[in-house]
Amino acid sequence: MIDKFVATPAQALADLRDGATVMIGGFGNAGMPAELIDALIAQGARELTIVNNNAGNGDTGLAALLKAKRVRKILCSFPRQVDSWHFDALYRAGELELELVPQGTLAERIRAAGAGIGAFYTPTAFGTRLAEGKETRRIGDRDYVLEYPIHADYALIKADRADRWGNLVYRKSARNFGPIMAAAAKCTVVQVRETVELGALDPEAVVTPGIFVKRVVKVVPAQRKAA
């Protein structure tokens, strides 16, 4: 019997090693898998490469992971926020490598990894400093930049509901990077608000099919910490 449900966030991340590349879902706080990030901090893995749209806010979640100095490199599109002080300090001190990627290129590089695409040409960033050193090509009447997929060892994402096969539905704009990160990682771990019986999710409305998901942890609201 397939059963992807795991009892706790800690169990779900027990085999994550130093040096891993970890995608973390969320755009700002929407879709941020806060309890999985807490478990990653507690787990202790170091020298991580993190892929997220941002670089943490305030003192919790991804910002706390950075503050604990577990991250060697971050790939993101928008690190600078009014409350990104942990990122700012580490970046300025040269303790954190940043690969700044335009948001759509970030999304497409993640999608390409999950879809088995070797590389792709995008018009985004042509003629800008974010395309410096990259291969370019004129196709038709437009100029494009060659971009490569981003593969990950783990994806930590948040969905709303899941069944034991790992089929997922999301909630509102919290979906953001979840579906594409799920496909791009070798081991996708999902925290959900609710687990349901097989058949309870409308097959027409499943957003992420379970084939992309390895582990599902239900996070009950009572265990939630203030964001």
């Binding site: 700044l100 335009p102 018009p123 594409i180």
Partner: protein, 216 residues
């Protein structure tokens, strides 16, 4: 002359967005345009984080942390609106499905180059978000900005000195002084604010302007 304030600039941009348009409003000043869209026109606002059909801000106390716009502010969803993931969202942008992107800017060049993501300062923390995708992807890219910097320098320049967001991507510039179209043969003034002559606008602007024969 009567300079437009931020709200008047937003209303001026909003006036040009037609019925049925799919529109992305950039963070900051462009977001204000949403408040001035003409009543009676059905216009669908897109947000990079995966929303089509953004509605007004929720009433106080009814924020939903799972429903935010690209500026991470709480929003609502119009009836008929929908959600999608990030790769689909940027397929809409790069794939030329959006009719308008309204973006803020530090500088726009006479050729329509846009600089709006980085001041170029060595200690600045760079952040680009979806700006470069919007610049190359929307069918029509319009910029909304003050005409002059706080020091009184023209933000319309011969060549951008700040790092580029996109090359030759801007179609129209809305400022607090004028509306200017970027065309292959240069910058055409569509209109100026009340009490501002073409000659005075030219004096304030860093590059040669043309009078538009017939206003668009």
């Amino acid at each position: 002359m009567k300079k437009l304030d931020r709200k008047q600039m937003a209303a001026r941009v909003a006036r040009d967005i037609p019925e049925g348009a799919y529109v992305n409003l950039g963070i900051g000043l462009p977001t204000l345009v949403a408040d001035y869209l003409p009543k009676g026109r059905e216009i669908i606002l897109h947000s990079e984080n995966g929303i089509l059909g953004i509605g007004p801000k929720p009433p106080a106390g009814e924020d939903d942390e799972d429903l935010i716009n690209a500026g991470k502010e709480p929003v609502t969803l119009l009836t008929g609106g929908c959600y999608f993931h990030h790769a689909d969202s940027f397929a809409m942008i790069r794939g030329r499905h959006l009719d308008f992107a309204v973006l803020g800017a530090f500088q726009v060049s006479a050729q329509g180059d846009l600089a709006n993501w980085h001041t170029g300062a060595p200690d600045a923390i760079p952040a680009v978000g979806g700006a470069m995708d919007l610049a190359v992807g929307a069918k029509k890219v319009v910029v909304m900005m003050e005409h002059l910097t706080k020091q009184g320098e023209s933000k319309i320049v011969e060549r951008c000195t700040y790092p580029l967001t996109g090359a030759r991507c801007v179609d129209r510039i809305y400022t607090d002084l004028a509306v200017i179209d970027v065309k292959a043969d240069g910058l055409h003034v569509v209109e100026t604010v009340e009490g501002l002559s073409f000659e005075e606008l030219q004096r304030l602007t860093g590059v040669p302007l043309k009078r538009l024969a017939s206003a668009a």
